[in-house]
Symmetry: C3
Subunit: 345 residues, 3 copies
């Protein structure tokens, strides 16, 4: 990472307010961490003090921002946060890529890997097909007849089991498991007999799956994650679940088998959904919500079992005030007893 201020401006479309266009930066950092050779940005008014005392060499700011100190190069942009992301992305696109199979990787002769980067100790089994521009990370396992699209990154030690289908520009973080067997048993003669799970998982284009998350293959048919949906770390998606497009599913959430989730749904961390439910488009589940009935109306839901968030907030207030209510109830009882005595005397 080594850029001139001019190159930075070329990447994000800003305007140099003060400083030398040939000044060089070689790192990114937050305002309070940055040194004299780092690029930083003031994305939010609330970091103004960090900005004023920052040692950063170059800072992306809005045109209205004051000058922090002499010697700091300032680049004016409309949206410093977005500009910073664009620069990072441009740099990231320099992630080294070479369409070659590492000598320690194993690629079955019947697998298709033209134009693919296969890194050390990866395994690609018979019949698998990988699209051009895709990086298969170290230790990744792609099992028989699985299909991975173009321009994907499968990070270290992730696993795609047999016959699963991944679209283009899919990301698997390290340790993600796609296509494990669903948790389905029939209790026969005093023991749990496995119900065969012969379906697959389909991840549509631009799906991202977090580190060590697990997505079970369908009993038959397919478990589907819709286009553009992003899944965080340590999430569990059961067999035959269908998740729509452009959803966000945050860490430690579990979705039981055969649920159907709409489009643009946000499921915050540590939620749980019982099996065979429907969650409609644009629903938001706040963190730790437990859903036991289908939710069709858009809105924000919270609690166990899930209700509209304003209702759950009232329940929480009620519970928290419980000891006061209890006291008041006792007092009322005493006073009513006294009133009854007065009446009867």
């Amino acid at each position: 990472m080594d850029f001139t201020v001019s190159e930075i401006i070329a990447l994000c479309g800003g305007r140099l307010r003060v400083g030398d266009p040939d000044f060089r930066v070689n790192g990114f950092a937050a305002l309070d961490d940055a040194g004299p050779e780092d690029l930083s940005f003031l994305g939010n008014e609330k970091y103004i003090n960090d900005y004023l005392s920052s040692a950063a060499g170059v800072v992306l700011v809005v045109p209205q921002a004051p000058i922090a100190r002499e010697g700091m190069v300032l680049i004016d942009v409309e949206n410093p946060s977005l500009a910073f992301s664009q620069i990072c992305e441009a740099v990231q696109s320099k992630r080294p890529f070479a369409a070659e199979v590492h000598p320690t990787a194993y690629v079955d002769p019947t697998a298709e890997v033209a134009g693919v980067m296969v890194r050390a100790n990866a395994v690609i089994e018979a019949g698998a097909r990988i699209g051009r521009g895709t990086e298969i990370g170290p230790g990744v396992v792609i099992e028989r007849d699985a299909v991975v699209g173009e321009d994907c990154i499968l990070f270290a030690n992730s696993v795609v089991r047999e016959r699963c289908l991944l679209g283009d520009r899919v990301l698997l973080q390290p340790g993600a498991v796609i296509g494990s067997e669903g948790f389905g048993y029939e209790f026969v003669d005093g023991r749990h007999r496995s119900i065969p799970q012969v379906g697959i998982v389909v991840l549509e284009d631009e799906v991202e799956v977090g580190a060590n998350s697990t997505i079970d293959r369908a009993r038959f048919g397919k478990t589907t994650i819709g286009k553009g949906t992003k899944i965080d770390n340590l999430v569990q998606i059961g067999h035959n679940v269908v998740v729509g497009e452009h959803c966000l599913i945050v860490a430690h959430t579990g979705i039981a088998g055969s649920c159907t989730i709409g489009n643009n749904v946000t499921i915050a961390a540590q939620c749980g959904l019982a099996g065979h439910l429907e969650v409609g488009d644009n629903v938001v589940l706040a963190a730790r919500t437990g859903v036991s009935k289908s939710i069709t109306k858009p809105g924000i839901y919270w609690g166990v079992p899930a209700v509209p968030i304003h209702e759950e907030k009232k329940s929480v207030v009620f519970t928290r005030n419980g000891p006061a209510f209890r006291k008041e109830l006792k007092l009322l009882r005493k006073e009513v007893n006294e009133l009854k005595e007065s009446r009867d005397s």
Copy 2:
């Protein structure tokens, strides 16, 4: 997958009601997904409309089921769901197996792997012994002196640490970790000093462990999972836990150290058990239950802390009605005050 209707009938013991016994199918699918060369089944009345409009080539049905349309082959069976499973299982048993060590795998010369399939880039360390008919998946690591029984499948990138013992027909889904060190520390001189975890994990016959689940080795002695118990994905089992036979433990559940769980216990998703507890035979914990005291009486429990499910349901109703109670309490206060004024005036 390519079967004739006659072959299907041979596998599941049904009776051809209508259609050609030489008709061929090459896939499985749900009724609403199936195409003209797929086998499907009508397992439940509620899918009758999917059945009536299905494009499936062959469908397993109960004898009372109507004929959906001309050209659809129907096979009558008593239990279509079970029959379908039997067929899937028969097909799955065709999972390719060859008792050979892949050239990219590493097997220590002192390990025993006769009759074992060791796949690409697996690692089997010194002194490990693997039983006949077992498949060691790609990237799997079996550490020193571990023992794995016969006819097991250890899926990709799962790990069995040193000296752990797995019975026969055990399944580890991808990324499962058996024998990680228990979380035990003594706070000495301002820092947490590790308590050595020198025990092992024992998985008895037919235990199944889900993807990326973790089972800690005992401090000393053993952590035991009883025969036939099935564990879902992302479950954590602490050191020295003893789980009985034929239990089900669903995703994201955590069982803290030294718990003892009986036989035929069902623990639904996202439950948590504090350390050193006992849970008796036939107990059922509903999803998200938190157990902080031993439960010896069979029954269904729910809530944090766990109580019989009907009690927790009443508590939930009470909490949800909190705002109404609050209002009523205020009204009673007002009326009692008025009554007191009347009395005193």
Copy 3:
């Protein structure tokens, strides 16, 4: 493992009360599991019956403990539990170590691995530097330019992504992921656009990370885990989180992005912390606590949202007594109505 009683005494500093100093043991076990060639210990009065009936060959006891039976060797120590740990540790330090790269491992020529044990099928990429005495387990992946200190153990299939920094004596349990990308998106034109995550993770000296736990790299700057902090299995730590020194973070806990956790904080199992919060030194969060506001005052907290534990306990009692309160409220209503009628008649 084969020790004489004299050797055991040399390791833990005890005093032989009864038995032969040349008696040999070859295993460790709990009192109720131990056989005649095992070493065990009586760490707690409550196990006295296990002790009295134990078949253990040698037992560490306090001087006041009775003699269980003839033929059992007894070693008196002040703290049997600690003594037992010391012996286990001494034995564990015999974990085989050889500073060599296994022939099936891949180490990039530009990586530094002098004095390091690199086990089968591990991958160490360009520019990585590993300190002396460190063991890189089977299937472990260390990506470009990552730095690992001295005397660390990275267990099987763990992953350290590019540029992350691990101190000395760090432990990663199997499957742990260090440096996955943070979960950060901007919603632009109807889709979630990734915010580049170009920072790193820093694990300071003596940090331990549990099996299949995940720690995300910072958006920029660093995610930091302070010296001596221990993290259990299946824990998720978000991007830009700063955890202090000597904390304990138990299984299934999730800490959202940009949280700052102080020193000596204990976070029990299955807790969740929303993003951008502060938790001060010496705070304890009981299991399953959900934190949505910063907590600066030391103390024990519980509930969702978190409150001091005695308050949450009262709320739980209130909720559990809900049906009784409801009944009392109905009765009061009836009686007040009667009083009003009496007054008005």
